[in-house]
Amino acid sequence: MAVMTVREALQKALHEAMADERTFIIGEDIGHYGSTYGVTAGFLEKYGPDRLRDAPIAEAGILGVAIGAAMAGMRPIAEIMSVNFSLLAFDMIINHAAKIYSMFGGKFSVPLVMRTTNGWTQLSATHSQTFDSMFAHIPGLKVVAPATPADMLGLFRASMADPDPVIFIEHTLMYGIKGEVPDGDYVIPIGKSVLSREGRHITVVTYSRMVHLAHQAADILAQEGIEVEIVDLRTLRPLDMSVALESFKKTNRAVVVTEDWQSYGTSAEIATRLYEHGFDYLDAPIQRVNFREVPMPYAKNLEQQVVVTTERIVAAIRKVLHRT
């Protein structure tokens, strides 16, 4: 067990991936600039411009080139600096990466890992979005959004070993988060959720950065004797609800916390599955805590009210618990 940050865990994962000669990393400002969030800092010096490829500002191009290379036997890692820019590559991701295996009769596949970041910090409307539900909606993609350094490493290993396209969602506000990382080459399988904290009274179903806020909320409520159970989905497609449903059958109450807009966001599918499969165990409507549904404002006083906070999670839990 070593303690490291999310950034360090990802660096370890990327260095491991680069041990495979077929792997190269392509993205914007990952080399000469030194990496926007520092994850690939030093990689250009270590691996050279052939395997650490600074790309033009052309997101469709980056994905398209990576998809083609993947088809022809390479194991590319495509980095899209911010998920907000991935919209420029949606045709590549959805019409190509996700379709090629099935559309051509399963004769070849696209072993591609696309790393990208959610996040916000007064960056205004076009730099603060998350499109989790859009990626997770697409058959042919596998979509992961880990929360801890250990899961980042374990799921990245699984993603690189996977012959299908994987969307690997990181978060700009998580790179500095520390956590214990097991030694050895353990792998966290894609499509497996996990119990992140045990509790008896209510279940919080969440993933990515929200897992950490859920724990803070649980700590606060623990002081009042309220025991919150937290389920970390870790993967959005396929969506493994088994752990959440087990928990729900015990607590009969749930709050779904996701860092995206509520309507048609990931919390809708997660909540619906809880209702569908946990129907007979329902004691109260499930509360959803998400971004307020507005383009993200720059002004701090407004941004603070749009994003999900520990306070809002606590309030949601109280609301569900106090409904009789």
């Binding site: 469709a60 398209g64 295996y101």
Partner: protein, 364 residues
Amino acid sequence: MQKRRGATSAGAPATSSLRSTMSSTPLSRARKELGDAHLVELYRQMMLIRRFEEKCQEMYTRSKIGGFLHLYVGEEATGVGAISNLQPQDHIFTHYRDHGHAIARGLDINALMAELFGRDTGSGRGLGGSMHFADVTKNFWGGYAIVGSHLLLAVGVGLACQMQKTNGVVMVFFGDGATNGGEFYEALNFAQLWKLPVVFVCENNLYAMGTPLEVHSAVTEIYRKASAFDMKAMRIDGNDVLEVREQVGEAVDYARSGKGPVLVEAMTYRFRGHSAQDTQKYRSKEDVEQHRQQDPVMRFRQSLIDVGVQTAAEIDALDAVIDEQVEESVRFADESPVPGNEWLTDQGIYAAPLETPTVDPNII
């Protein structure tokens, strides 16, 4: 078409010096260089494409084939001439108008007809249909139906060739209409920036669906768009299979030598509608008729007879064999089973299905 014929070069003077010719290569010279057997093979491929597609049209009318059907009729010389320069380790990408390229690359027409019929024996197990012929064993990476996007995939395979040092070249086909979308330019920049072995072959048939070239593109000499990237480029007569073979051959050699990509603009013409739905109100019957007079397949057929490469009888016999093969492909397709329901499960979507299914097994 006259004014559009002949090869020209573009891009920065220094890097675009493919020799310029106004006349197509004399058949006599081609006999010496390639040998008669090869000439006959070029003809055979063109005629096989022609007959195969005429049959496709028939089967479409009889509802044996569904979806969209984009025929290559009239453009055969471009695909056959260009692909005749490729080696087994080379790669091909194309668009939805892919029948000709697939046949020129030697894909089994039984598997192709079966694909059109939506059968399990199809080149894509019946999953793709007319727009998505592929055969990975021949590095034929398939037809793609999103205009322009596949150029970037081709560049990616070009990068793989370079990094894997396979000495392979990637040839990608697309239309004039595909040269206005951003992907085209992003692809050319990546290819030239990294000097990738990619030959971009634009089949300029003067229309994007029903929109005339001059209505959709500020520059109508497509090859000149390469100048924004200092990329070698050429414009050729896509209806003369021997000129196509020779000129594209130079482009392929150039790319293989590591000098970088080339943009080839092949001037050609589509005899049929854009797809089976097309009413063709955007062009006159006379216009089409005039081009049919220049039918690249029939012209080449006649010239082979004229110079004595084949007797009329020999070619008739060859045509008969082709007809029989096409008939056989229909029988094969008709008798083939449809694809199974495993395609409706994770097994059909993922090379590595996961323990947690993405497709609800209990779906109503």
